[in-house]
């Protein structure tokens, strides 16, 4: 299995993602510059966090027009796996690969802290090694993480079990007090209908070593690696 980490001007979590794949997943991984368009040798791509194009216009809005994104859309349509983290989630929404939008945080602050999220379903290629209902401690670092969508989209996400992680307290209770940014229904991450594209605001790649305060993020990568091993 081979991973790619897409690099836009302004990406800044690309090296963290690369490190996690090479060290913890132990698989080959390349950086993919945003002007490259050939993704044929990859099984999964990660769209990392950061501030692509300086967040100009809207977070993720300009990255969507990078040449690589046309290839990412085809890649996703072919059933291969796309993981968008933070700015990567924003880009996936702007590109229409995931529904909804990420708005300015409810209290306007850039929030940089560890948060708790509850795994709502183990039925995805990204969470199948985790238990539904388990709580992960993952860092968040964003100013635009306030997930919004219309009623129809929300009903669809719920009905199709596509809300993958939600902000919660340390005991796993999903409360308004545990909602850092005002996201609808405490949504921290969702997947597409085919379940091969996941976007989430928390940073699992920054939580893979105890030294960094949490290694709970490994479960996401372990799941994806197990999925790829099973289909290989």
């Amino acid at each position: 299995m081979k991973f790619g980490v897409i690099v836009f001007p302004g990406s800044n979590c690309d090296h963290d993602a690369y490190h996690v794949i090479s060290k913890h997943v132990g698989q080959p991984v390349d950086f993919i510059w945003h002007r490259d368009t050939n993704l044929s040798s990859y099984d999964a791509v990660i769209i990392p966090g950061g501030f692509s194009y300086g967040d100009y216009l809207r977070a993720g809005a300009l990255a969507r027009f990078s040449p690589v994104m046309t290839s990412v859309k085809k890649f996703a349509r072919s059933g291969r796996f796309v993981l968008g983290i933070c700015n990567g989630f924003q880009i996936l929404c702007e590109a229409g690969l995931l529904p909804g939008a990420l708005m300015r945080n409810r209290d306007l602050h850039f929030i940089c802290e560890h948060s708790f999220v509850r795994v709502e379903t183990a039925d995805t290629p990204f969470t199948n090694e985790l238990e539904g209902g388990s709580v992960l401690r993952l860092p968040i670092a964003h100013a635009e993480g306030n997930y919004i969508c219309d009623e129809d989209t929300f009903a669809e996400l719920k009905g199709e079990d596509r809300i993958i992680v939600r902000y919660c307290d340390k005991d796993g209770d999903v409360t308004d007090a545990a909602n850092p940014n005002g996201s609808r229904d405490n949504i921290a991450g969702i997947c597409n209908r085919e379940r091969n594209v996941l976007g989430l605001m928390p940073h699992p790649e920054r939580a893979c070593e105890d030294l960094l305060g949490s290694s709970d993020g490994r479960g996401i990568f372990r799941s994806l690696a197990a999925t790829l091993a099973a289909v290989a």
Partner: protein
């Protein structure tokens, strides 16, 4: 020729920036404000050879596909000779 594009959050979408601005101006003593919504404004210089209808069509498409996010924002376009 010039196009002016205004992008605003849709009614009902919470605008925390607008709320913060409203709070600040009220602290300064401005009264009678019922709401402040913050939007974006673009000025686009256009080739004067374009006719107005074509310019409006082209700029509207630009506004729909790039300048606004139709999930959360509405836009309006004005064309000036």
């Amino acid at each position: 020729m010039k196009a002016k594009v205004y992008v605003n959050l849709k009614p009902g979408v919470l605008d925390p920036q607008g709320k913060a601005i409203q709070h600040s101006v009220e602290l300064l003593g401005f009264n009678g404000i019922s709401d402040i919504r913050q939007g974006k404004y673009f000025e686009i210089g256009l080739d004067s050879a374009l006719d107005e209808a074509a310019a409006r069509e082209s700029v509207s498409r630009m506004a729909r596909e790039v300048l606004s996010n139709p999930i959360i924002e509405d836009f309006s376009v004005e064309i000036e000779a």
